[in-house]
Amino acid sequence: MRLLPSGSAALLVELDGLDDVLALYAALSADPPFGVVDVVPAARTVLLVTDPAATTLAAVADTVRATTPRPDAQAVGDSVELPVHYDGADLADAAELLGLTPAGLVERHTAAEWTVAFCGFAPGFGYLTEPGGQWDVPRRSTPRTKVPPGSVALAGEFSGVYPRESPGGWQLIGRTDVAVFDLDRDPAALLRPGTRVRFTAVPR
């Protein structure tokens, strides 16, 4: 664990990998240090954002160093099933990049047990990983200016669902009719760090 400076109001904790991020995030989000207003997990880091009027960075750093990560907590998140129409524009390309047929990719994508590692990019966009999974898909060389909402996509070791229309460089393999971000629902974000996700194929 390395504590990196992030100005007068935040502290960035750098870890060895995603598993360590999930374990530390689970411990910190269950019991946030006093004066911390946001805990933001990412691929290799956890950012702690403080209220400078309520605490000091030194106090937060001490608390973080004394925190016991909770690697077991990853399995206790909510569980979500997302039916997918596997007809994405990049399905064939993505399959080829993985050395699979399109049907083989669908089989692997639906067999995998995904976990939301962290969110970002847009409200409700979750970066999903399969622990031990062999996903490594490069982004498209030219990002799309418009990715339709509900698009199910792959990039790097991650899978994701676009919450709304936006630009994007991920490989599109399908789409879901489930709204992953809906302001009329509580909670609005379906995919939160720790949520487990299972994709199912909608028959054609």
Binding site: L4, P5, S6, G7, S8, A9, A10, L12, E14, Y25, S29, V37, D38, V39, V40, P41, A42, A43, R44, T45, V46, L47, V49, P52, F118, C119, G120, F121, A122, P123, G124, F125, G126, R164, L183, P187, A188, A189, R192, P193
Partner: protein, 278 residues
Amino acid sequence: MSLTVLATGPLTTVQDLGRPGQAALGIGRSGVCDRASAALANRLVGNPADAAVLEVTFGGLAVRAEADVLVVSTGARCPGAPHAAPVVLRRGQELRLGPPASGLRSYLAVRGGIAVEPVLGSRATDVLAGLGPAVVAAGDVLPVGPPVDPAPGVDLAPVPEPAAGELTVTVLPGPRADWFGDAGWTGLTDQAWAVTSESNRVGLRLDGAPLERLRAGELPSEGMVRGALQVPPSGLPVLFLADHPVTGGYPVIGYVTDTDVDRCAQLRPGQTLRFSSR
């Protein structure tokens, strides 16, 4: 009680203290850009700190009161505004804000607060995420809430005007300062950066002599906060303001101290900014 909007200038939004605690869901904090000025405005009309105000960019806002209301403006001083001095706007009376002589953002607080419907616990408009109330438009009728605390009875709060010309703020090393080395840090702190017209509530885009990276490769996205100086491949830093993205994939060389970020939010295109490391 309500205010009818007659004109908005280049950009007027409803803002409050934003959405803390939701960054892990990809939902940024947002909220007022110049927190100190907005807080003063709320104090002067006896509002709680989290009451919503109007953030007016480069003047131009005109409103009509539909009932007697106590109003005040802070931040960039606009001709015609009750600057740091609360006044009662009588029913039917109009208030018109001219363009400020210095500074960029003015805050109009109304006793009782702007009471539009909150979204995810806040009335802040996040222009990057597209969350919160719509950008204020002419013809809008903005509801005003009931007063909560007693009016403070302050006639005038003497506060310094936002800087014209060059502004110097304090910078601290960021998590990836080592990607740029000593030469990069000197480049950051040894020149006057020009604020460009591509700046907005997301961040100030700066122009100057580009900062060179010492190392190639991609940075896995990581969380950042207001005040971050992120350096994209162009080498020209972006200083993140209220509507910054929750995570970013470019290295952050430094951070402007939290209180100084508010002063940066008053910079307009063409002004220059210097970073002083202490």
